[in-house]
């Protein structure tokens, strides 16, 4: 099977392509496999130590890789993972072959957009009112969690179309806070 991977780094995004024969979904699995990555052929001896934790020998080099889905960070066509290899951490977007016909959504910053809670907590202050015009970086809401007050700011200028939450409300990661148009 052929899988596309987008690697997000501080400096930007890199595209990679990896090919190998399907390995089945046996919960406790492992073995040797040939794979081709960005044109280079490699052999790997892999085994899953815990769910999402892989011990991989590429040639004889030993790597322990932790694969964790990024919380609430799922696209329709791809899955984003935080992947840790020793001291290194990668943000990888794996394009599931079963959905390859779709293409990435474009126009990131167009149309009305929902601002979502990046973490659980309690709304201690709402800093904007509906229909208020705001500039980029302006404070929107203050969320308290673990004894810290976290001010969420506007990622771009716009008008506050709706405010979904009330002060004092408890919130979960990913719920809608307000809509920006």
């Amino acid at each position: 099977m052929r899988i596309d991977i987008k690697q997000h780094t501080g400096s930007g995004t890199r595209n990679h392509q990896i090919e190998f024969n399907p390995v089945g979904t046996n919960p406790v699995a492992g073995g040797r496999l040939q794979f081709v990555i960005d044109g280079d052929r490699r052999e790997a001896n892999w085994v899953e130590i815990f769910p999402g934790v892989y011990s991989i020998l590429v040639g004889e080099r030993s790597y322990e890789i932790h694969v964790a889905p990024r919380p609430g960070d799922f696209g329709a066509q791809a899955t984003s993972y935080d992947v840790t290899a020793g001291m290194h951490r990668y943000h990888l977007e794996v394009w599931d072959p079963r959905r390859r016909r779709h293409s990435a959504p474009e126009g990131l910053h167009e149309g009305p957009q929902e601002i979502l809670a990046p973490m659980p907590g309690r709304i201690v202050k709402i800093l904007v009112a509906e229909n208020q015009e705001i500039g980029q970086g302006e404070g929107l809401v203050v969320i308290e969690a673990m004894k810290m007050q976290n001010e969420l700011r506007a990622p771009r200028a716009g008008r506050v179309d709706r405010v979904y939450v009330k002060e004092g409300a408890g919130i979960e990661t990913g719920i809608k806070l307000l809509r920006l148009v």
Partner: protein, 509 residues
């Protein structure tokens, strides 16, 4: 010695105190809120008393319920740990009235050190070094002007009841003074419900170096060397070391003796910490005194070989100190990292939730003081400190190498932690050279910092991609969360600008 004590705290410090008690055959009494029934400190205790709902104002801050638990359990003494009621004189007084020993200093010492201006007055009176400035609240703009010009710019306006960097204003020139004065007062009013401010000379890029002292009830006071606490993020300590890279024998003696004099001045007993600011010329100025056990006490323990919690218990039980000043020998170097449930790749947002896997580092000279376990769900009601990872080495380079190794072994799954962040600190040339001050982290690291570390090993990168691809192909992609549609916004949210600062009046202990 006590037969039974109550620990009026939770998390790692409650666990730490109970460990000392078990080694001394003292029975332990835990208190817990609804959400903490399965918490580590409840599992470890000999007895456990429920004291209310999750919100700390309804549980861990409820003096009445804690004293009731002490009465019912027959505990002879109460250890407050740090935070919560640890520096609350009313609690210490209430213990006294209830006939329970408060394991800490006398009420008067707590009250004196609780007020910054009062403490400044006391020290100035005794000719001890404080940052030049006023020793009382400033009542008018005129007063500010005259004093500021006396001291010389730049100056700092500080909230008298302040902490955690609130009600704080740096004033570089005279013409900024008026607005800064107005802002500082209103911010202080909002934050601490008290508008009083006072003036200090601004010390550029200071170091935060503190001295550990012990005092018994027989007039003995000693110091146990210093701790370097300049590594702070937004006024929160994140990493500490003992000794300090810039403190030599001579300076250690000077600061230690000053700290002991300050302790004596306050009639201090038990364990306390005198915090100093050091300027570029290594002049030291009193900052404040913490009248309780410090979060970072393990680095002092590893270097001196003394168990500070046991010392606290013995002092509270009336025993004289077992050591004279010249018995205190410092050996090697210790570092501590505070492991917080926060996401460094996401503006250090808090990251509560279920710990699905926990692997703590081990082996030579590695110490983990944890308060959580695999399967525990970290609540969002309390401080995000999961654990303190401390290491010891023969010298600073060995300690740094060992901390790097230990962090590499540390694995917390299910929630995000600041572990990857520490790897950056440890690799930074200025840190390695010991060139640090309280602005170092905000200047050098969190600013442009991103959670991903650029790989230096292309083979590791390939292995990572293979693992991710294998995982996706085997598990299929996970269930889209409610967030799916907004995912781009989610991403935007993750990278959006953020401020976070302590929600409590005083900064984290």
């Amino acid at each position: 010695m006590f037969k039974k004590i109550l620990i009026a705290n939770r998390g790692e410090i409650a666990v730490r105190i109970m460990r000392a008690c078990r080694e001394m055959d003292i029975r332990t009494v835990a208190v817990y809120s609804d959400i903490d029934r399965k918490a580590q400190h409840v599992r470890d205790a000999d007895e456990a008393y429920h004291i209310g709902p999750a919100s700390s104002s309804e549980s861990y801050l409820r003096i009445d319920r804690i004293l009731d638990a002490a009465r019912r359990s027959g505990a002879e003494a109460i250890h407050p740990g740090y935070g919560f009621l640890a520096e609350n004189p009313d609690f210490a007084r209430a213990c006294k009235e209830a006939g329970v020993t408060f394991i800490g200093p006398p009420v008067a010492a707590m009250e004196l050190m609780g007020s910054k201006t009062a403490a400044r007055r006391a020290l100035l009176g005794a000719g001890l070094p404080v940052v030049p400035g006023t020793d009382r609240n400033i009542e008018s703009l005129e007063e500010v002007r005259s004093i500021a010009s006396e001291i010389g710019f730049p100056v700092m306006l500080k909230a008298s009841e302040g902490g955690g960097g609130k009600g704080l204003r740096l004033v570089a020139t005279p013409d900024e003074l008026e607005s800064a004065y107005r802002d500082a007062r209103s911010e202080a009013q909002n934050a601490f419900n008290n508008a009083s401010v006072y003036l200090e000379k601004y010390i550029g890029r200071p170091r935060h170096v503190e001295i550990q002292i012990l005092g018994d009830h027989h007039g003995n006071q000693i110091y146990l060397g210093e701790r370097e606490c300049s590594l702070q993020r937004r006024h929160q300590k994140v990493m500490e070391e003992c000794p300090s890279p810039i403190v030599d024998q001579d300076l250690r003696r000077k600061m230690g003796e000053a700290a002991v004099r300050i302790g004596a001045l306050a009639g201090y007993t038990n364990a306390g910490t005198v915090e100093f600011l050091l300027d570029q010329d290594r002049n030291f100025y009193f900052l404040e005194m913490n009248t309780r056990l410090q979060v970072e006490h393990p680095v002092t323990e590893m270097v001196t070989g003394l168990d500070l919690v046991k010392a606290q218990l013995k002092i509270a039980a009336g025993e004289p100190l077992a050591w004279r000043q010249d018995d205190i020998q410092m050996r090697g170097w210790a570092l501590e990292c505070r492991i917080y449930a926060e996401d460094p790749a996401n503006n250090f947002f808090p990251s509560p939730g279920l710990i699905t896997r926990l692997k703590v580092p081990g082996g030579p000279w590695v110490r983990d003081d944890g308060g959580v376990y695999e399967g525990w769900s970290v609540p969002l009601e309390y401080d995000p400190l999961l654990s303190k990872l401390a290491v010891w080495g023969n010298d600073r380079p060995e300690a740094i190498a060992r901390m790097r190794r230990a962090l590499g072994e540390y694995n917390v799954s299910g929630i995000q932690t600041n572990i990857p962040f520490f790897r950056h600190v440890l690799d930074h040339a200025d840190f390695i050279a010991g060139r640090i001050d309280t602005t170092f982290i905000d200047r050098a690291l969190t600013g442009g910092w991103v959670g991903d570390i650029e790989s230096v090993d292309p083979e590791a990168e390939r292995a990572a991609m293979l693992a991710a691809a294998l995982h996706a192909s085997r598990k299929g992609s996970s269930q889209p969360s409610p967030v799916t549609r907004g995912s781009k916004w989610k991403t935007a949210g993750r990278d959006s600008l953020l401020n976070n600062c302590p929600a409590r009046r005083s900064r984290r202990p």
